[in-house]
Amino acid sequence: MNWVFDPSLALSTALLVLMIMAALAIVRTTNLFAVAILSSVYSLLCAVWFVAMDAIDVGFTEACVGAGVSGALFLAALAHTGDRAKKQKMSRLVGGALAALAFGIALVLIVPFTPIFGDPNSAANIGIGMDYVRQTPVEIGIPNVVTAVLASYRGLDTFGEVVVIFAAGMAVVAILPRHRRKASSEGEQ
């Protein structure tokens, strides 16, 4: 019975509980504006949780995307659809619920085999990850190891991601209709 109060554990737990409640609220709400707001709050809590776990670059990315862009893009998408979700029949929800339940049980079963947070003997901390941490000051000479890994050691992966972003942007531009408003006789840009 040597249980001690761990502040960072309490912080993580509170944030995770709030995230679960946000997810449940998203499921229960049919007003899609409210869903857009709730999902931006979900992203906010997610970013804070990343920060609390010291994954600061991930949290920063989540913060930028969640705060600046995704809310506006959700609403822009709502302008093209409607603002209200259709009420689903119960029978159609059963399949999804069963699949989610099975997946959740599988995840819970995996938990005993995952390393605990900050375990020095986990695969991430004894393999090539520590090599990156050790070699970055020598070979590259910049303080942020994450940037070194992303832009140099794993540069090809990042190149793939950049190409995917580019392709996605161009695909959206190509697919969405380019509708001219008004008569374009006077409106030359």
Binding site: F60, A67, I142, T147, T158, V162, Q189
Partner: protein, 163 residues
Amino acid sequence: MMDNDVRHLILRVSVKMLTPLIVLFAIYVQTHGEYGPGGGFQAGVILAAAVIVYGLVFGPSAAVRLAPPIAAAALAALGVTIYALTGVVGLIGADSFLDHNGIASLLQLQPSTGQHIGIVMVEWGVFFTVAGSLVAIFYAFMVQPVGIPDEVFEPDESGDSAA
């Protein structure tokens, strides 16, 4: 019906003050990526957010003047090109795509300096691509939905806007 300019005066003034600050913060995140959190992706998203806020408040025509759609698409393509050319330099100098030591060996520099140059180039490539793509996506979504007549959306403005 109150005039839109008067009604949103507070928003207009504050957005005018905030937009340059957001752009400045994007540049800070971009140039600070080696030392702290951040880098090309985050800076690109923040820059796109500046254009989005500007476009939301002042309308697409003002935003288009600030960042033309064709320029956004070209910027995205330019970013991918910068990234790929950085890789090609590594291919020439060190026989391996995206090996930044090739930059050092081509330019007769310390290997760590070459790595630093390569990382900065890569980050700028990511920055251009992300900013350009997101702005292009935003413009694509911002166009009025097809099939809904103008009058539904148009706030009634007294028609003095011919010039």
